[in-house]
């Protein structure tokens, strides 16, 4: 238990550093802002209960907010992702269900499953995040385009990160 807590703390710290020092500097034509730290919410164990997932998601986003100076935005987006995660997991569960006491990872359930899983969660996260940032539906399609591009890049980076984790 303590072991796991430490493990997730390290994962979060690594993602935080990557996000701040690497991915925040990627500003490709104003449409691409990948937010890879959401991988942390993706990797939480299956057995995490609903309310705990929400609270962990909230603070994961909130700490990001503190470092990025955007109070509330990432918290709102990660809470939405944490809320959607159980429904997404249920919708795309493999034929024989999930193994107990594991975490959703590419190493266990394969590339296709992980690709859809991360795509859906990241889409929810980016949708909420970018619309919270704009806070109006006036430039709806411009924002939507931004969501799509950023989601694609985030998913690419997440899968890349999973390959590194797998190969370790």
């Amino acid at each position: 238990m303590i072991n796991q807590l430490l493990r997730y703390t390290i994962i979060y710290a690594v993602l935080l550093l990557l996000q701040i020092f690497l991915f925040n500097n990627i500003q490709f034509s104003g449409y691409v802002n990948p937010y890879v730290y959401i991988l942390f919410v993706l990797l939480l164990p299956y057995k995490t209960s609903g309310w705990l997932l929400l609270i962990i998601s909230f603070f994961a986003g909130f700490i990001m907010d503190i470092f990025m100076g955007t109070p509330g935005m990432h918290a709102g987006a990660t809470v939405a992702a944490g809320f959607a995660r159980p429904y997404i997991l249920r919708a795309i569960s493999p034929r024989d269900g999930y193994l107990p006491d594991t975490e959703p990872s590419m190493a266990l359930y394969g590339f296709n499953w992980f690709f859809f899983y991360s795509l859906l969660v990241v889409t929810v996260h980016h949708l909420v995040l970018f619309y919270l940032e704009i806070f109006s539906f006036e430039s709806f399609f411009r924002t939507f385009l931004k969501v799509i591009f950023s989601t694609v890049f985030t998913v690419i980076f997440i899968i890349f990160a999973e390959y590194i984790r797998k190969g370790r």
Binding site: W51, L54, I55, G72, A75, G76, V79, A80, F135
Partner: protein, 273 residues
């Protein structure tokens, strides 16, 4: 309570989700002016829409009251037309003389000074010679008879109201047309006394008293008041207490009535006196 707990247990995830999202939006709106204004704009739009709906409903519910008021006003106006002899239900004849057949001219006026607690009360109106007001013109309120002009300057006129012991008014009981003389006994500003009604006439409390028009000042048929009580004094006449229709304590808006044929009538009558 049990149901509430069950409800919270069943939907705890959704409730927590909504709470956390609200916290996030609160944080955002607290730190960004732009988001704050957007939020306020949205809320204001919502409340404005809602207020519009509410006021529509309220107006609809008040329709009956508004209708009653309009109807009362309508009746009043019709009565006024009737009273001043402009019969609109007869054939309308177009004449170039706008004063054709008009015996009485009406001029609205405001009471600018008033007294009710003396024996010889007077009040002042904001119309004078410049507006065509002269002495011996009738002044009525919306409820009924108010008084007679006794003096007028360029812009103001003094009116002797019914509640002045010098005031005499020829009035009649509307139900049986017997007429008598009305004056004030100097006591209660709400009551006057009607004399000279013979005792063989049957009268009732609540009977309406109206003007006769004999004096060529007041038009006939204007409300004076209602019989409040009466007693048979030693002579052959009743002493009738009349509850005046006009409330002199609340007098604010009056109409001055000019009888265009007053002089003609008086001149003719003078020859036989």
């Amino acid at each position: 309570m049990r149901n509430l707990l069950l409800f919270i247990e069943k939907y705890n995830r959704i409730i927590l989700f909504i709470i956390l999202e609200l916290v996030a939006v609160y944080l955002i709106s607290n730190s960004y002016k732009y988001h704050n204004t957007q939020l306020i704009k949205g809320v204001r739009k919502l409340t404005l829409t809602w207020e519009g709906v509410i006021s529509n409903v309220k107006n609809y519910l008040r329709i009956k009251k508004i209708n009653d008021d309009l109807q009362a006003e309508n009746t009043l106006l019709w009565n006024l037309i009737e009273r001043y002899g402009l019969k609109t239900d007869s054939v309308i004849i177009q004449v170039n003389d706008t004063l054709h057949g008009v015996q009485f001219e009406i001029l609205p006026a405001y009471v600018v000074n008033n007294s009710v607690n003396k024996v010889k009360n007077y009040f002042t109106i904001d119309r004078g010679k410049g507006d065509g007001v002269d002495v011996n013109m009738a002044v009525i309120s919306i409820q009924g008879v108010a008084g007679i002009t006794v003096a007028s300057s360029d812009n103001y006129s003094i009116v002797m109201p019914v509640i002045n012991t010098d005031f005499r008014l020829s009035s009649r009981i509307k139900s049986n047309d017997y007429f008598g003389s009305l004056n004030w006994d100097g006591r209660d500003y709400r009551y006057a006394v009607l004399h000279d009604i013979p005792q063989h006439v049957s009268i009732n409390e609540g009977d309406t008293i109206v003007t006769t028009g004999y004096s060529a000042i007041f038009p006939p048929g204007i409300m004076v008041g209602t019989i409040s009580d009466f007693k048979k004094s030693g002579s052959d006449f009743y002493t009738i207490r009349v509850r005046l229709a006009t409330d002199f304590r609340k007098l604010t808006y009056v109409k001055v009535i000019k009888n265009r044929r007053q002089q003609e009538q008086l001149n003719l009558e003078k020859e036989f006196q």
